[in-house]
């Protein structure tokens, strides 16, 4: 089912009308194009704001996390369909 990953990733994202939209990300040697951002939610961890992006491509679901204070992206979990 869900696989916990927690790896740092490189993300190509856009900023549109106050929203962050991840378009593409690189995890290890793999590169994935985000087909759809299905849900965005956030969490305050102490003073830091974390944003979670539940995204999918043609065959996989991914949960990406953006730590706004550290400007870091992580791949938190994934599921192959």
């Amino acid at each position: 089912m869900y696989e916990t990953i927690n790896d740092q990733i490189e993300v190509l994202a856009g900023f549109k009308r106050g929203q962050i939209i991840p378009y593409r990300f690189k995890w290890g040697i793999h590169q994935y194009d985000v087909k759809k951002v299905n849900l965005v939610h956030g969490e305050m961890r102490g003073r830091d704001m974390l944003y979670y992006f539940s995204v999918s491509d043609e065959a996989n679901y991914f949960k990406l996390c953006f730590d706004a204070s550290k400007m870091l992206w992580k791949l938190e979990e994934m599921m192959e369909s």
Binding site: M1, N38, E43, G46, R47, D48, S54, S56, Y61, M79
Partner: protein, 433 residues
Amino acid sequence: MILHIDMNSYFATCEQQANPFLRGKPVAVGGDPRSFHKGEISRSRTLIVAASKEAKKRGVKSVMPSWEAVKICPELIFVPGDHIKYKWITDKFLEIFKSYSPILEIFSIDEAFLDVTKTAKLFGGAENIAKEIKLRLKKEVGEWMTCSIGIAENKLLAKLASDLKKPDGLVIIDENNKEKILNSIELIDFCGIGKRIEARLNRMGIFTVRQLKDCSYINLTKEFKSYGHKLYLIARGEDNSEVMPYYLLPDEKSMGHNFTLPKDVWDLKEIKTVILQLSEKLGRRLRRKNFAAKCVSLLLRYSFNSRVGEKSISNLRFDKPNFHYFHKQKKVNYWINDGYEIYKIACMILEGWQDNQSVRMIGIAVSCLSKVNQISCLEEDNKLKRILKVSDKINNKYGENTIFRGAYLKAEKSKILMPKALKSPVSFMRRSN
């Protein structure tokens, strides 16, 4: 005019919104009983927290043991619960509701009442508001999110209306269809008539809403005391209760936390370890809301096997003599909001525990709450308060459990640690006792 909005299969729908590969499939939020491996924590005792509409069609229900759900629906997909996600989505849809009326009562994480009596005409009527809410929910939260909305003159009928059509329903109860609907439903369909009340009504020879309506006020109050008055109104579709806006909610009267252990526990030390974690959590919650308590209660629920055989597990869920338990409380004559104080009082209660049973769930609660800002005359007390204040400040800034009691490390060792109890131990509090 009141709207009752009920999100359909809420937690499971949130998961299907996040992950489109789960859509159209039977999904359950909860621990997967099939993920049991040697050495790993057993989840076979977990319950279904929420089931998707597809799972519900297959007979899977909320609060059903996971193993039982798998038996009914072997292709059931289990997804771990993510309460941060659900709370975030709740806040988002509540914002939508608030834009139509400030008189919003948050009934639960996935249900709300909205009084639009004074604002309906601004938006083209109550029905129009309901339709707009449904559209905005899909547009602003997610296309898979649906809700059932009931519209009526009072909360009782609005709730009843939203329950009549699921998922994605919109039902209006007005003077034209009120009698017809009331006569077509069962007693248990009313919010306020549960299985026990229904059984008592049945014993009085009342099986239908019509029969309840025909029952005299005197007979109802004779049997149910003051609740008889409520039943008298329910039978007539009447409800005088007002929508209580979220900003006028009364202060909490008690607070509590329960934890179902990953395995049955006999050892007093392990039980105390969990009590400490629960107490700390409670202390933090009390201080965050500027409350202090005078009463602590401890609940120990025993395992299935303590007194009854495994064979009767399925009966136990539905029968009255559920699990055996130990429940006691202790009142003190001073105000407490320190987790360690709560823990010490719970340990005093525990001294009276002589059942020697294996424990499966531990619960701690505090009551007799008051907003207290008393300064103690004892320097030692004030010192402890200052330490708590600083540790709260650190945890507020850097996240929960950035700083914690050294005793927590024992919990880590014993592997009876509540989920997300600890991050990496950056530093920890020491205390001289």
